[in-house]
């Protein structure tokens, strides 16, 4: 039942401008994931939303109420802190249910709630320990438990799963997702894990240096990154970039790779892209879209590459390719048997290319 609107938000620490005009709208029951490089202001944004830091300018509204000046404790927001911020003098159980204690919930009920939450986080055997006696991941789970035990209007999660093992992370992620669906609280979630972002988010905000670089659905952001920054940031391994130039006019426009004059350019159908001849562009392609070997009859840029390095990740193979003076990374299924040092033909299918203005680094088309 909660809509969260942030507009014109600024926050400075002394001379350091950490947030510069952030506008974000999370719909009722929405799940916003914040993505962005380390230090771009994600935690700061959460803190401001929670009311733990005063905004330097701008406003925050929950539904239609302006809460910019409401005290943290009256905002009905639960948060998982990046630093956990557990109460060192309290047992795990009391840490988890402190909010209930504050509300005067009877002891028995609190204990039961603590047990339920702890069980779902697999820390039920630790309920009587102090935070100091826990491992990193266990502490993190206590921090999560403290938020999950509540039913607030808004959940804020600051990299809540970073110290959990894969299995636990998947389970906890599913737990958060289920909880979100059941309780329906609006959530804002900071993560560096792309698959977390993709599976949880209804909306993603990609942040860069205190600003929102792109705001959209996960699919949008993955499929149509608004800038080189977003394109590079979302997707792992990151998108490959090459320099290109537009040649020809109208329907006859083609894209030519710089430094590869001998390569056949690809035709850009009349898509009405706002490009004119000579326009310098950056061409992007995701590693898993690079076809190694004689690709089928697909349309695209065909290059000859040398295999520089092959990295097994277990589930995939990362292939480092050298093409002219460029380096490209391709992701291939694990069966692919590729020998470093050999030359292979590769294809960059035209439908998988992303074009960005070389100057502004903003998306052009496709």
């Amino acid at each position: 039942m909660t809509r969260l609107s942030i507009s014109g938000l600024r926050k400075s620490f002394g001379v350091v401008d950490v947030l510069k005009s952030v506008d974000i709208e999370v719909e009722d029951n929405g799940f916003l994931v914040l993505l962005g490089p380390s230090g771009c202001g994600k935690s700061t944004l959460l803190n401001v939303i929670a009311g733990l830091e005063r905004a330097t300018a701008g406003s925050i509204r929950i539904d239609d109420r302006d809460i910019t000046d409401v005290e943290a404790k009256d905002r009905d927001i639960a948060m998982v802190f990046q630093s956990y911020a557990l109460y060192p003098s309290m047992s795990v159980a009391r840490n988890i249910t402190f909010s209930m204690e504050v509300r005067g919930v009877p002891r028995a009920e609190r204990r039961k709630a603590a047990e339920t939450v702890a069980a779902s986080l697999q820390i039920e055997h630790l309920l009587d320990r102090r935070p100091a006696q826990l491992s990193g991941g266990q502490r993190q789970r206590v921090a999560i438990g403290r938020a999950l035990v509540r039913s607030p209007k808004i959940f804020l999660f600051d990299e809540p799963l970073s110290n959990l093992d894969t299995q636990l992370r998947l389970e906890t992620r599913a737990l958060i997702k289920r909880l979100h669906q059941r309780v329906g609280a609006t959530s804002v979630y900071v993560t560096h894990d792309q698959s977390e972002a993709m599976t949880l988010a209804t909306r993603i905000a990609v942040m860069a240096k205190g600003e929102v670089a792109q705001f959209g659905t996960p699919a949008e952001i993955y499929a149509r990154p608004a800038s080189v920054f977003v394109a590079r940031f979302v997707g792992s391994p990151p998108m490959n970039f090459l320099a290109g130039t537009i040649v020809g006019e109208g329907a006859g426009r083609t894209l030519q790779l710089d430094g590869f004059a001998d390569i056949a350019p690809v035709a850009l159908e009349a898509t009405g892209l706002p490009v004119s001849p000579g326009h310098a562009v950056t061409v992007g392609i995701r590693p898993d879209r690079i076809v190694i070997g004689e690709g089928a009859s697909r349309d695209g840029l065909r290059l000859l590459a040398t295999i520089d390095l092959v990295e097994e990740t277990g589930t995939d193979v990362l292939v480092y390719l050298k093409v002219g003076g460029l380096e490209l990374i391709a992701r291939q299924p694990p069966e692919a048997r590729l020998t470093p040092g050999t030359s292979v033909p590769i294809l960059l299918p035209v439908k998988d290319l992303h074009l960005f203005d070389r100057e502004t680094e903003l998306r052009i088309g496709f």
């Binding site: 700061t44 733990l52 830091e53 802190f81 990046q82 630093s83 990193g136 993190q140």
Partner: protein, 295 residues
Amino acid sequence: MPADLNPSEMVAARRPATRAMLYVVLGILGLFFLAPLAVMVLTSLRPIEEIRSAGIIGIPQTLTLDAWRAAWSQACIAAVCEGLQPYFRNSLVIAIPATLLSTLLGAINGYALTKFRFPGADAIMVLIILGCFLPLQAVLIPAAQTLSALGLANSIYGLILIYTVYGLPFTTLFFRNYYVGVPSEIVRAAHMDGAGFWRIFFQIMVPISWPIAMVSVVFQFTGIWNEFLFGVSFTTGASQTVTVALNNLVNTTFGVKQYNLDMAASLIAALPVLIVYLFVGRFFVRGLTAGSIKG
């Protein structure tokens, strides 16, 4: 986790009404604390005749600084009529080294006992803490005999030693209880960086110890400054401490009482301590340990 390092701002009520209440409560407390001071100041400003005739508490009809002047530089203390002023130096040369020494040793002990939890550390701590409770009147004689055996009888070094030792249980207690709150991880990290015991102490612990070090300084300096029992036993004549001199000025049983002088003198004697308090304020900074570890 950009640290807004101010929990008080988080907890402090921001509403004007609440803040007004805050100042009202502080004001009432302040009045309670200031009442005796007011009595002392007012008395010190009245001529003694007026005190004798108009009663001991009262608004001065005549204001005079004579008592202050006398207390500072004219009043006779025993045979010397130079007021309190000659005795400050004596107190300072004892109080400053003893304060610094006991604070430093207390810090070292607190550090060794919390961050190097060797076997028996807790037992030693308890042993040291019990030292807080020793009634000093009872040990005056063995203390005097020991100092004389050490060749320190009647010297300021003896007093420095005594004040340092009897301050140690307290300073150790302060630092120990401050350092238990300092995350041990940072000591471990420094250890990994190759730093030894002393380097960790001076470069890692000392910089985050300001508030408690100031507490210790306030405690020790005040205590030593006002100490009488040992001061009177181990100093004589011109080398007496201010408190002993003050006592000699004020604490007469059969002589004529000069309350205005007494009050002025004791206020003057307290001035260096007040200066320490004001100076120490700058070190009560927040968040010295912030950002060191997560969780």
